[in-house]
């Protein structure tokens, strides 16, 4: 590029940056600044090449950003501070000529001045508002990040929809099969593209020790349908979707590329080992894009056709009876979602005959907005988030009421000022507007503080480790939506809670107010103040009650008899097939690992299990039990759906599950031996009531399975599930290379991490180190919503309590100060300290009691919505309904007692002299 063109281009960029400045500044100096920039650029020819340009632009930004900001601040200050009454000549050009703006300017100045005159009032009010908005903003920020933020990197996300296969009548749904996906993709006329994907963990290495990778297998058009462009190299092409196993190519996520390959730009075309086989890196996804579930960390994408080489059943790409995919698509231009859904449903029904007969009820396609969550889990997640948002809104109400009360007191103190201004001819509307400006300024300042709190607290949230099967990563920090939301909240609450005090302090007859100079206790004002105190008490009680209920649910959940032990057990997920192991080699490896670990100090027993109880996943199959008459609700064909888990020898001993009868699995229950199962007691009661199930036979896919043992009933997938038939199958007879090694120890299971990793490394150094966790953690997913809810409502409840109690203290202290003269007279007339104490306490506690009663009524009505999260703890739990009101009342008593004691100590002579 010639030097002139380079300079001209740089100048265009510079000109664009000048838009940071206020318009006036830009008009006046813009051309000049561009010329200066060009002059300098021409004189300093040394700055060429990438580093030269980077230095240049860094310097330019360091100069322009702060100075533009300062210039804007100066403009704002000039606007606020310029003379309100235009001087005849010089200021005339500054005068905006817009009476609206000038009044606003006037009000803002007045508000700032008046708030500055009472710094402690302002500081307390701003802090209180900051705590309240901080709570709401934190939750909203997390909610916005999880729900509202569009999937990063996706073009026109409004046109991308989730595609689900459902029952047209009924609530069932199923994961689509690959042939079903092909039909939709090839035959649709209403979608511009239909794509499929599923998660697939892999191991990637460059020769040495492998790295566990959270990958997705996708159809070749996945990125096209989303409209995502690679930042390096390319994405998949149609040819890579044609032949199974023919194209070992992989796309990396930006995050993984930076972490694992240090952002090496030569990565495209390089060969890496994926599950032990050589693959080629063809591209890197743009920054921010981590697949269609943004909260799940995705490291890489591989073509669907490679799934069989990565451990998927090769039949999965042919069988219409195997559902394992998630589908989404992009609506064609001008097509409404309803029409597209009808079109896809039509295609589905054309091919219904090619599928297993029991799919015939799943005969409709439903489209829904892409939420970034699995479509069937989304409603539950949204309800939960709405719940937390509601709870945090209560904290904001308490905080705002608090400031409302403070503003009322301030209004009382300023009655004289207002009266004078009215007497001088100020209109009431004008005064109200001024006072409202003041409260809105206060709330905006508080909201700014709240935003800072939200930045901090979302950071804390993000660091919390969630036990989940997939790696989660989410950026919960506030974005521009949160900014707008917080600003709106501040303005609205400022108006609402500023209105009453503003009306109060301007509703006066100037004549009487000017004459009576004691700050009287106007009946109406104190009634308003009292009702605000009542509201505050009621709301904080409601908040504390919800927190109490969640805590009860958590303790109840923790004490549910799960039927197995979780203590002293370490869990290590391993899948050596991802490192290129064959099944036979994998079995040898697992045996070696078991042996090695059993010999480790402190280890008492070792077992394996593909499935972890309460771990968040479950598997089911359809069995036939001879001579079993279908019960009401069963399928008419006599087949029964049963959940099962694949476990290894010694499993029952490791988890402490008693065998009621028969035996557990043995090493001899392998693929060569006849199929066996251990069932739970409910299984026996359901199918052979009154007789012994051991020795009986049922059929799974026409294979006879003999029951060899009966295990004590337990919890399998959730803590509040009803007792159902359940069976255990031997891992060796349902072989899958991905499994968990369970190690029982006498000591701390978390300390086994290094031991297990070392054992794996000693057997084969290329294997990635397993991420060892404990059984306690692995099964804690089942209590996750309760944990989050109890934590959030507990923290918010305590904050609300603190605010409410401080507010109450303020009101009582203020009232006592106002009534000094009255108390003095009472004492001069013979009342003793005790009766004054009772008087003040009584006045304060009356409000508290009313608030508590209203709060209990509110709670009784409102906590019903929590019922589904409570594990059978009644929403009207007596313990919560008895303890928490008493606790709140005690805190309130303390808050009233402190100022009451001061009132009782009043010296009547001094009190009478004061006024």
């Amino acid at each position: 590029m010639s030097d002139d063109r380079r300079v001209a281009r740089a100048e265009r960029w510079y000109a664009a940056l000048l838009f940071l400045y206020p318009a006036e500044f830009r008009r006046r100096f813009g051309p000049d600044m561009r010329q200066l920039f060009t002059d300098r650029l021409r004189s300093e020819r040394g700055r060429t090449g990438a580093t030269g340009a980077a230095t240049l632009w860094a310097g330019v930004l360091l100069d322009l950003l702060p100075s533009a900001l300062l210039e804007r601040a100066a403009q704002l200050r000039d606007w606020l501070m310029r003379p309100l009454v235009p001087a005849p000549r010089s200021a005339a050009r500054h005068y905006s000529g817009d009476p609206m703006l000038d009044t606003l300017r006037h009000d803002l100045r007045y508000a700032l001045r008046s708030l500055r005159r009472t710094p402690s009032f302002t500081a307390v009010a701003v802090i209180v508002v900051a705590l309240g908005t901080g709570a709401v903003t934190t939750i909203f920020s997390a909610a916005s990040a999880l729900v509202l933020r569009p999937i990063p990197g996706v073009r026109d996300p409004g046109r991308v929809v989730d595609i689900r296969r459902v029952e047209s009548r009924g609530r069932g749904s199923m994961s689509p099969s690959y042939p079903f996906f092909e039909h939709l993709r090839d035959e649709t006329r209403t979608m511009s593209g239909v794509a499929a994907w599923t998660m697939m963990p892999l191991t990637l290495s460059t020769g040495g020790q492998g790295t566990a990778v959270s990958a997705d297998v996708t159809s070749a058009n996945y990125f096209d349908v989303l409209g995502v462009r690679p930042q390096l190299g390319r994405f998949f092409v149609a040819a890579e979707d044609s032949a199974p196993g023919a194209h070992p190519v992989i796309v990396l996520s930006d995050g993984f590329w930076r972490r694992r390959f240090a952002g090496d730009r030569q990565i495209v075309g390089r060969s890496v080992l994926v599950n032990g086989a050589p693959w080629t890196v063809i591209g890197v996804a743009p920054p921010g894009f981590t697949g269609v579930y943004p909260i799940v960390r995705t490291d890489a994408w591989v073509p669907m056709m490679m799934a069989p080489t990565l451990g998927r059943d090769p039949d999965a790409l042919r069988s219409a009876g195997s559902g394992w995919l998630t589908l989404f698509g992009r609506l064609a231009d001008g097509v409404a979602p309803e029409r597209a859904a009808a079109d896809l449903t039509r295609i589905l029904r054309v091919h219904l005959g090619e599928e297993p007969p029991d799919y015939k009820d799943l005969n409709a396609v439903r489209l829904s907005r892409m939420t970034g969550f699995p479509a069937d889990g989304a409603p539950m997640i949204f309800t939960f988030i709405a719940l937390l948002l509601g709870v945090s809104a209560l904290v904001l109400v308490i905080a705002s009421v608090n400031v409302g009360i403070m503003l009322l007191a301030r209004a009382a103190a300023r009655r004289r000022e207002m009266a004078i201004r009215i007497a001088l001819g100020a209109g009431r509307a004008r005064l109200i507007r001024q006072l409202l400006t003041e409260s809105v300024v206060l709330f905006i300042a508080g909201a700014a503080g709240g935003l800072l709190i939200a930045f901090w607290s979302t950071g804390v949230f993000q660091r919390i480790q969630v036990p989940a099967e997939v790696p989660l990563s989410a950026d919960l920090g506030p974005d521009y939506r949160v900014l707008v939301f917080t600003l709106a909240v501040a303005v609205i609450t400022g108006l609402i809670f500023g209105l009453a005090p503003a009306l109060q302090s301007t509703r006066h007859d100037p004549d009487t107010d000017l004459r009576s100079d004691t700050a009287g206790t106007g009946l109406r004002r104190s009634r308003l103040r009292n009702s605000l105190v009542v509201v505050q008490m009621a709301v904080s009680l409601l908040l504390l009650m919800s927190a109490g209920l969640f805590l009860r649910a958590l303790t109840r959940g923790a004490h549910v008899d799960t039927g197995f032990e979780t203590a002293h057990i370490a869990v290590a997920p391993v899948d050596v097939s991802r490192s290129g192991y064959t099944d036979a080699r994998a079995r040898v490896f697992l045996d070696a690992l078991r042996e090695r670990l059993a010999a480790a100090p402190g280890v008492t027993q070792v077992s394996v299990a593909r499935w972890i109880p309460l771990g968040g996943s479950s598997a089911g199959t359809r069995i036939r039990v001879p001579n079993h008459a279908p019960l009401p609700g069963d399928r008419p064909d006599g087949m029964v759906d049963v959940s099962f888990g694949e476990v290894g020898p010694d499993y029952f001993q490791v988890l402490g599950i008693p065998l009621v009868n028969g035996r557990g699995f043995l090493a001899t229950d392998d693929s060569a031996a006849p199929q066996v199962a251990v069932v739970n007691e409910a299984f026996g009661r359901t199918f052979w009531p009154g007789s012994e199930p051991v020795g009986r036979v049922f059929y799974d896919d026409d294979t006879p399975v003999t029951i060899v043992g009966v295990a004590r009933d337990a919890k399998y997938s959730s803590l509040n599930e009803p007792l159902r038939p359940f069976m255990y199958m031997p891992v060796a007879q349902r072989w899958r290379s991905s499994t968990n090694v369970l190690v029982k120890t006498t000591g701390d299971p978390a300390a086994l991490g290094p031991v297990i990793r070392e054992a794996v490394r000693a057997i084969d150094p290329i294997l990635p180190p397993p991420e060892v966790t404990t059984m306690d953690v692995a099964t804690s997913v089942s209590l996750l919503p309760q944990r989050v809810a109890a934590g959030v409502t507990g923290a918010l409840g305590l904050l609300g309590l603190l605010l409410a109690v401080v507010g109450l203290y303020g009101v009582v202290a203020y009232t006592v100060a106002q009534r000094t003269r009255e108390i003095g007279i009472r004492m001069a007339l013979g009342a003793d300290g005790g009766s004054v104490l009772r008087l003040v306490l009584g006045d304060g506690m009356r409000l508290v009691v009313i608030g508590v009663v209203i709060g209990m009524a509110l709670a009784a009505a409102a906590t019903r919505v929590l019922a589904s999260f409570l594990f059978g703890v009644s929403p009207l739990d007596p313990l919560v309904f008895a303890l928490i009101p008493v606790g709140l009342a005690s805190a309130a008593l303390l808050a009233t007692w402190l100022p009451a004691r001061r009132a009782a100590a009043t010296d009547p002579q001094a009190a009478l002299r004061v006024s």
Partner: protein, 120 residues
């Protein structure tokens, strides 16, 4: 219009402001000329970036210490290049500021400092 009675209100000048005004004492200059001249005057101590330079110019224009000149040159980019010159008020303000600085130099603290730093 700023009257001469307002001069004390404009003092003290910031170092950058003083240097910029001094750079205009002998001749009218444009933006880049000012940057170079100020760097020269201060032995490279003050190197103004454009954003900052024009903020200072704006302040001085508003206060009436400098003015835009009607002078234009020929050559590439000349039509955009504006020249600035010192106003009469600007000259008086420099004078007052220099007088103030002289007073600082001959003041008690400065002399005490000189004594303190003198080798004993």
């Amino acid at each position: 219009m700023t009257r001469s009675a307002d001069i004390p209100a404009l003092l003290p000048l910031k170092p950058v402001e003083l240097e910029l005004l001094l750079a205009l004492v002998d001749e009218e200059r444009h933006g880049y000329g000012l940057v170079q001249r100020i760097a020269e005057q201060t032995d490279g101590l003050i190197r103004l970036e454009p954003g900052n330079l024009y903020r200072v110019i704006r302040r001085l224009l508003t206060a009436g210490l400098v003015q835009e000149s009607s002078r234009r040159e020929t050559g590439p980019g000349a039509e955009r290049r504006r020249y600035y010159r010192l106003t009469a008020l600007g000259a008086r303000v420099i004078d007052a500021e220099l007088a103030r600085l002289r007073a600082v130099l001959s003041g008690v603290p400065a002399r005490a400092l000189a004594r303190r730093l003198r080798p004993t």
